[in-house]
């Protein structure tokens, strides 16, 4: 019997006589079977629909398969993989995806944290019925971008940023085709709109969990709001801020698709051709599944690499 179960066995024996070792033994085998039975359906499902396809992806990366010209799958050696290093589309997509990720996550973390601190202020200071109504209305408004499907939000922004049809240009008194002249900036703004609320609510929980006594002590010492912000609030939430930013970055880098597809489609030129979009276009526009598989492997190596690194870091800090 493993040691972590001992205290619990002892606890069970509070009123009734505790079960003897023989009972524990028999039930431990039953428990193991139950554990396997509970998890097996999920494991089989993920194994069949994710693990097998990803193994198949590795096979495809070593073959040529272009259904437009031939339905045959022919061995291609490592040519698809080596092409990754010479293909300018792939190289530029890595640069664009990285720029997009760094800029959008920076905005999300800074704006999201700032809004969280302000919202916590409003929630703690305006305590009347009206005040509570006000902070609830604000929280509900911040939930909306989170709930709006990415493709709908992207199309709304695309029209809003249009040179003739869009209200943004009317308000600014300009007629700039934002998605053509500043495509990367546009998709960064759209992603920041969608994901800032996520950071905001995670950080709000962090800010609200700071002990009120810390603020009271600071106030007694005569610390002003700026001093309090920099010596109490920010240091307390910095670790969560960094972790949230890191996880957002992995997600942004590997999952950006809908927003770009529905707005710029990757253009103009290669300006917003992020990596997931390159993979999709290679497979489903150019119908070159071998090359697409090699690119997908690259994306997997990057996302799993960063993801596992984060996971290990987080485990160690715990």
């Amino acid at each position: 019997m493993s040691s972590p179960r001992r205290p619990e066995t002892r606890r069970r024996g509070r009123g009734a006589p505790s079960p003897g070792p023989a009972v524990v033994h028999r039930s431990s085998r039953r428990r193991r079977l139950a554990g396997i039975a509970f998890t097996l359906p999920s494991m089989l499902f993920v194994g069949a629909v994710m693990a097998y396809p990803l193994v198949y992806l590795g096979y495809m990366a070593l073959h040529t398969y272009r259904p437009l010209t031939s339905s045959e799958i022919t061995p291609a050696g490592l040519s698809n993989v080596t092409a990754l290093f010479t293909d300018s589309t792939v190289r530029s997509s890595l640069r664009v995806t990285l720029q997009f990720t760094l800029a959008s996550v920076a905005i999300e973390v800074v704006v999201g944290t700032a809004c969280a601190i302000l919202l916590a202020n409003v929630m703690l200071r305006l305590r009347g019925r009206l005040g509570r109504l006000f902070s609830r209305a604000l929280a509900s408004a911040f939930i909306v971008p989170f709930a709006v499907p990415a493709v709908a939000g992207a199309y709304a922004w695309r029209m809003m940023l249009d040179a003739q049809l869009g209200p943004v240009n009317q308000l600014l008194g300009t007629s700039i085709p934002w998605l053509v002249e500043h495509p990367l900036l546009s998709i960064i703004v759209i992603d920041a709109w969608k994901m800032t609320p996520f950071v905001l609510f995670v950080m709000l929980a962090a800010v609200m969990s700071i002990e009120p006594s810390q603020y009271e002590a600071a106030a007694l010492d005569g610390a002003g709001p700026v001093r309090t912000l920099f010596s109490i609030t920010l240091p307390s939430i910095l670790p969560i801020m960094l972790v949230t930013g890191a996880f957002r970055a992995v997600d942004a880098f590997t999952k950006v698709f809908d927003t770009v597809f529905a707005t710029t489609g990757g253009g103009p030129g290669d300006d917003t051709r992020v990596l997931p979009l390159v993979i999709w276009r290679t497979a489903f526009t150019h119908l070159d599944f071998g090359s697409a598989s090699a690119q997908a492997l690259l994306a997997l190596v990057i996302s799993l690499g960063f993801g596992v690194a984060l996971m290990v870091l987080q485990r160690r800090n715990r």
């Binding site: 428990r31 193991r32 554990g35 396997i36 039975a37 509970f38 998890t39 999920s42 499902f45 993920v46 629909v49 396809p53 198949y56 992806l57 495809m60 398969y65 809004c115 302000l118 202020n121 200071r125 305006l126 604000l138 929280a139 509900s140 408004a141 911040f142 939930i143 909306v144 971008p145 989170f146 709930a147 709006v148 499907p149 990415a150 493709v151 709908a152 199309y155 709304a156 029209m159 049809l165 209200p167 609320p197 995670v202 929980a205 972790v243 809908d258 597809f261 529905a262 990596l275 997931p276 979009l277 999709w280 497979a283 599944f289 598989s293 997908a296 997997l300 996302s303 799993l304 993801g307």
Partner: protein, 278 residues
């Protein structure tokens, strides 16, 4: 002295509220814009200033959704995809999360790590091999192909959301039920699930969002417009020649309203699911 301090604090909070109101308006802008454009007559959209009020409102764009863009079937398809995603991922994910939380076995650490790694997979990387597999199985242009793809990406997330909820259920309750002779499956369905209801609500909400909002799988697997869900139907309104902006914004509202209303109603559960980490 104390009064001025209080007054200053309240003034600060009012300033914070004003700043947040501006941000909140930006957050609401795209949805408000969709609603505004969707109700404008065609001439107002294309030949008057974007923010000018139309002389009259129209429901024509919403009617066109159903007449020209198969929105009747798209709504049904979206509901079916979302419902199946919820059912499969909450059932399988719930069982697995409970297994990991309560019945650890020798390989379960590895199995859990495997599921967590599955959360990080790039969807665009998965869709390439899955497409050829679905093609061979004859599951293209069917909802089941989409459901399977969306669910496999959502399932690990559900396990990760539910596991802490099951860990919080007091062990004594389960042990008492077990001593009464209930099998582990009975204990799970009769005793534990009702106690972990808040967690289940969170899992249901996020699974619904995953199924309802997914674009990648339907746009890749489905070319027949009567099988399309709302998300990939929207793409049909952008042709090589023009974009049907009025219909597109109306369709955006139809797509957006259910998840927004659901998130409002289940706000508490939504916020509970917002955690970072693996």
């Amino acid at each position: 002295m104390r009064l001025t301090f209080q007054a200053r604090r309240r003034l600060g909070a009012a300033a914070a509220g004003a700043a947040l109101t501006v941000v909140a308006l930006v957050m609401l802008a795209p949805m408000a814009w969709m609603a505004f454009v969707s109700a404008k007559p065609e001439t107002d959209i294309f030949s008057r200033a974007p923010l000018s009020m139309p002389d009259e409102l129209t429901g024509a764009h919403y009617a066109n959704l159903f007449d020209q863009f198969h929105f009747g079937s798209s709504i049904t398809n979206s509901v079916a995809i979302a419902a199946a995603t919820v059912a499969i991922s909450v059932l399988l994910g719930g069982l697995a999360a409970y297994g990991f939380a309560r019945y650890p076995w020798r390989g379960s650490g590895v199995a859990l790590a495997f599921l967590i790694v599955a959360r990080m997979v790039t969807p665009a990387a998965l869709v390439v091999p899955l497409y050829t597999i679905m093609q061979r199985l004859g599951l293209l242009n069917s909802l089941s192909g989409v459901i399977v793809g969306v669910t496999v990406l959502n399932l690990p997330f559900v396990v990760w959301i539910l596991k802490p909820f099951f860990e919080q259920v007091p062990k004594e309750v389960e042990e008492a039920a077990e001593l009464d002779g209930l099998s582990p499956a009975r204990v799970f369905f009769r005793i534990v699930l009702p106690l972990a209801l808040p967690g289940l609500m969170t899992a249901v909400l996020y699974s619904f969002l995953a199924g309802w909002t997914d674009l990648l799988f339907p746009m890749t697997f489905i070319t027949d417009s009567t099988v399309m869900p709302l998300t990939s139907s929207l793409l049909q309104m952008q042709t090589g020649y023009r974009i049907y902006w009025g219909e597109l914004m109306a369709g955006g509202i139809v797509l957006t309203l259910p998840p927004v209303l659901l998130c409002f109603a289940l706000q508490k559960y939504l916020l509970r699911g917002l955690r970072t980490g693996y």
